[in-house]
């Protein structure tokens, strides 16, 4: 089956991101395809490239990136939710006249259309919210 996840909870504030990651790892372990993870609302903070949690705590950013590397999972970040929270890639940073960027591949800024597509094109869409 093709799965997609929607993550709306802020990492390290709510359990949603950890629940989603644990579910994602089980999905691929059971032989399914995890096609996309869509980060929305405060869930976009999962994509902050400068995240540096203590070494004895789960590193959500690295774990999502590992899923992309090993299972080709698309990591899609809602652009409207991200920009208003200061998360932007090099292109958006330049467009807004900012120094530096806070988001980079494998996380990709995208629109809500991708979420609608995830809800219709894939077999399952599971939401994890705060």
């Amino acid at each position: 089956m093709q799965y997609a996840l929607l993550v709306q909870g802020s990492p390290y504030s709510y359990q949603a991101s950890h629940s989603a990651l644990r579910f994602a790892q089980a999905v691929v372990r059971r032989g399914h395809s995890l096609t996309a993870v869509f980060f929305y609302h405060d869930g976009v903070y999962n994509a902050a490239r400068l995240a540096a949690p203590p070494q004895d705590e789960p590193h959500l950013y690295d774990a999502w990136a590992q899923l992309h590397r090993e299972h080709d999972t698309e990591l899609l970040v809602c652009i409207a939710a991200a920009l208003r929270r200061g998360l932007m890639d090099e292109r958006e940073s330049s467009r807004h006249g900012k120094a530096g960027h806070s988001l980079e591949p494998p996380f990709i800024l995208t629109g809500l259309g991708q979420l609608i597509e995830a809800s219709t094109a894939y077999d399952r869409l599971i939401s994890f919210s705060p």
Binding site: F23, H32, R124
Partner: protein, 96 residues
């Protein structure tokens, strides 16, 4: 069959009532995160209408030291069981 996923304890939020109201006769309810408290003997009466199709996530019970304290009528599943429930369901609804 729809799998309803609830992450709030009945002792903290009334959203469980909305989930129950929305559930069809074959639908299932899975308790995750703080929602696992709903499987405790003190709180399970709130979820009585769905007994027999009430599931609770083991990992979230363990992280709260609640494993072994659930009402026996709640069906404990691990995260692989969670995925399995989503395989069997036509779709899922998350309540929060």
């Amino acid at each position: 069959m729809v799998l309803h996923i609830l992450n709030r304890s009945p002792s903290m939020s009334r959203v469980f009532q909305q989930a129950l109201d929305a559930m069809g006769t074959d639908d299932r309810l899975l308790l995750i995160e703080d929602g696992v408290q709903g499987a405790l003997p003190q709180l399970i009466p709130y979820l009585e209408p769905v007994l027999g199709r009430l599931f609770v996530l083991k990992e979230d019970l363990v992280s709260r030291a609640l494993e072994g304290h659930c009402d026996a009528r709640a069906i404990v599943v691990d995260v692989d069981g969670f995925v399995s429930l989503t395989e069997e369901a036509d779709k899922t609804v998350s309540w929060f």
